[in-house]
């Protein structure tokens, strides 16, 4: 075989290998989640068959409809619906509170020079090191005293305590990257210190803001431990807690739990697919900067 042919063959082989690896990776990434989705639309008997059939004989969206419409307050479906609403409220409230407090803090930690700035930055970061179990007993007692245990407001407050440092950290990185000269120009044009932040600094850090909002939502939506201990009824129970509760029971309706799981997964998965650019940016910015 002549040299050029061999080289072409080797190149073709490499391309084939590459595509095979990509297919394999794609299958490995998607198959488990696909099986969860299939389980959620499969008929009850489909899931218990041996040998297992990979495409259900009685597929349908019935369980999703049940979750959306049921009025049976004792059903898993009803709990899932209420829990999804609670999770949304908690994620929304946490995001708002963490942004309102964390973005300005990130700004001054990036821009202003004052004693203790570095120490404060490290303080905010160090909360990440604490295991939630260290705080939970006291939080339980304090929130009970305040009448905010088993409440959405109580959860928002607790979640903001770990989302805010995250917002501070990410936004500090983005504000640092905004050229200081632009803000100085605004100052010379007569903007007050606050106006400089509001009209110049913040708009220039918009990509960071988008990233931060995404991560705040994802963090709050994903949290489990605090919600497990601090909520006990439909008033505030989140979707993660509801799923854990039902999958821990002896008589399990796997199809229904899979349905709850898919519904809980949809918001973050959709966000990840649509806003992928911002997430990747945030992962690398939060990590590499600073």
């Amino acid at each position: 075989m002549s040299g050029p042919t061999q080289a072409r063959l080797r190149k073709a082989g490499r391309r084939l290998g590459l595509h095979l690896a990509a297919l394999l990776a794609g299958a490995f990434i998607l198959a488990p989640f696909a099986w969860l989705v299939i389980s959620s639309i499969a008929g009850p008997s489909d899931l218990l068959e041996r040998p297992l059939r990979w495409w259900p004989a009685h597929a349908g969206l019935g369980r999703y409809l049940t979750v959306l419409t049921t009025t049976d307050v004792n059903s898993a479906a009803y709990t899932f619906r209420r829990a999804l609403i609670n999770s949304s409220a908690v994620a929304f409230g946490t995001t708002v509170l963490s942004l309102v407090t964390g973005v300005p803090a990130g700004y001054v930690l990036a821009r202003s020079r004052f004693r203790g700035r570095q120490a404060l930055t490290i303080f905010f970061l160090s909360t990440y090191l604490l295991p939630p179990i260290a705080l939970i007993v006291a939080l339980y007692v304090i929130l009970s005293l305040l009448g905010q245990r088993d409440s959405v407001v109580g959860l928002i407050l607790v979640y903001s305590s770990f989302v805010t440092p995250f917002v501070v950290w990410i936004m500090r990185g983005y504000f640092t990257a905004v050229p200081v000269e632009i803000e100085e120009a605004a100052r010379i044009d007569g903007c007050s210190r606050f106006e400089t932040f509001w009209r110049v600094g913040l708009p220039l850090a918009t990509p960071g803001l988008v990233t931060t909002i995404i991560f705040a939502i994802l963090l709050a939506w994903d949290e489990f431990f605090y919600a497990l201990i601090l909520t006990s009824s439909l008033r505030a129970k989140t979707i993660s807690v509801a799923i854990a509760e039902f999958s821990g029971q002896h008589m399990i309706d796997y199809g229904m739990i899979a349905t709850g799981g898919v519904m809980a997964a949809l918001p973050p998965v959709i966000i990840a697919l649509i806003l992928q650019k911002y997430i990747v940016q945030g992962l690398t910015a939060g990590a590499v900067k600073g």
């Binding site: 990509a22 488990p32 099986w35 803090a105 090191l129 994903d222 799923i243 697919l273």
Partner: protein
Amino acid sequence: MSLRLSSPNPRLLRTRVGREERRLIVAFLVPALLVTFGVVLIPLLEALWISFHRYSLTTPGRPFIGLANYSSALVDPGFWAATWRTVYFTLVSTGLELVLGLMIALLLNERFVGRGLLRALVLVPWALPTIVNGMMWRWIFNADYGALNAILLQLGLIKDYQAWLSSPWVAMNCVIFADVWKMTPLVAMLLLANLQVIPAELYEAASIDGAGPLGRFRYVTLPSIRSGILVSLVTRTIEAFKVFDIIFIMTRSGPANGTQTIAYYAYTETFTALQFGKGAALSYLIAVFITLLALVYFRLIREEVQA
């Protein structure tokens, strides 16, 4: 860490501008400090106080016992067993996530049909809520109806359905597998970001110098992705040391405590045995472990930045 500062002149603080700046600093910092440390600091101090007492719901009275909760934890074989399990979980999961994450990152850095799609899809496992991920894998590992058993049997790799989550060591590795499946994309994205900024000239220069594929990987790729590896290592090990959620949903620390990590042990002591004093001491020990880990990393990062 490189910070560009607006006003390096300390005299500014005494002027009108300085006063305005000071007001801004206070107004901008206090809300975040309240939300963060108001919720963290008080419970943390409360937990410290509890950890010095025999504080249990099963026995009356709350006598001060000094460090007895700590010393009894440190001689408790259950505590050390849980610690070593946590170390095993941390080392194996982080190691696998780094290796697989690097492989996926290298793949995603190549040109192939559907690369954009795969880059988007790779984030799906990471986006799944931890509890949904754990529930999904528990269902896949199910002894009677699980998809893993079905696929292995249909491929002829096993003769009978296996109870994957019923033996301690296998169960631990199943939990690790579920964690790796979810978190590898994060590592892959971090490393891919590093790979994308390596100039092609570096590879060309290495080739001219006679480096083969392995040599190029060793002398060009690896040094360029150091920061991504370091960041993955730091965040993944700290998270792994605190691991609780995925164990709660998959195995509830069983079978026979085979998947009981230290966070889970502290949880059991607190909420099942109702030994609040011991539980608080255990959580402080976890915090100490993680802080030590973080200090080591802090030094590594400083060296990395200086290098």
